[in-house]
Subunit: 157 residues, 2 copies
DNA sequence: CTGATTTCGTTGATAGAGTCAACGATCTGG
DNA sequence: CCAGATCGTTGACTCTATCAACGAAATCAG
């Protein structure tokens, strides 16, 4: 029934990895003078990936509470990285889309993130990186709530 | 100079994986009636690994601010999972150690965590799990601050 | 030894991240 | 049309994280 011995350090190593990655991102963003947090960056990336989106769509894609989406999007609109337009068919809702400024910010961020990723994967084969990513996705899907269709596997962008 | 194309989804997949793992841990801990957070669990595990430790040692092992260690340890002492004893040679410091109650809690937590890990690694080969873990450790070390000796690679327990 | 500096853990302040409950507005199905 | 579901927002709260300042103790220089 089991998969044999499970590496006890598995959670630790990944938690630490993510912590360090976020840590570097925060520092890099601060140095770049971008007044956004890691979650703001993930929000922007998700919108770049999905196209103009409703808060509900972002909440599903990021697996976050809709309340948090509201609070993430607000400063991004204030800083003109996003624009809010009324939803075409549902007056309760609206869609947020990247502005030109938002796209420019994302380009700067992508450049910074690329440097971090290159350092992170230093000395690793492309095939190793690819496999690591694939395994992360598999485990993520294994942990997803199977009862809840919204948590079904999503394709990368 | 580069490693070729870097999977753009790498940060996303790992961030999401860690988020989901923590999410399950929080739920599991609540169900088990353990009034501790994920960081509390990591603190206990670190002490179990290192043995009786000073806050400074925990801060280094967990890569967290010493202030946060103070705040993590406090409720664990209040709940009698840890005991604080004076440091043998340094009157400024002290050591925290697991109590019998703390060890019992850790056993319960280990059992719960094992279930999560089995689900997470469902359908994966032991070799895949092992390799994933090894790659995570390598990337974590690549990101560690090389100037700062405290961030040097640590052996697992 | 003595004084200057450093280090130890604690505390306060602040910010980010995440969750839950409630609400008004709107949509939808009967 | 009306009852119930859904949308985004807000309030309140917890956990996580960081930085600066502090008293106490250790250490180092002279």
């Amino acid at each position: 029934m089991t998969n044999g011995p499970i590496a006890a350090g598995l959670p630790e190593s990944v938690i630490m990895l993510v912590f360090m990655f976020k840590h570097r991102m925060v520092k890099t963003l601060a140095e770049a003078g971008a007044d956004v947090s890691v979650m703001h960056v993930r929000t922007l990336k998700t919108i770049a990936c999905l196209g103009p989106s409703t808060p509900a769509e972002l909440a599903e894609a990021l697996q976050r509470d809709k309340a948090q989406i509201t609070r993430l999007v607000k400063p991004l609109i204030e800083q003109s990285y996003l624009v809010k337009s009324p939803h075409p068919t549902d007056k309760r809702s609206h869609v947020v889309a990247l502005t030109r400024t938002g796209l420019e910010l994302m380009e700067r961020i992508a450049k910074a993130e690329r440097i971090i990723l290159e350092r992170m994967t230093e000395g690793m084969l492309a095939s190793e990186i690819e496999q690591f990513n694939a395994l992360a996705v598999r485990m993520q899907r294994n942990l997803a709530d199977r009862q809840h269709p919204a948590c079904a596997p999503r394709d990368a962008c």
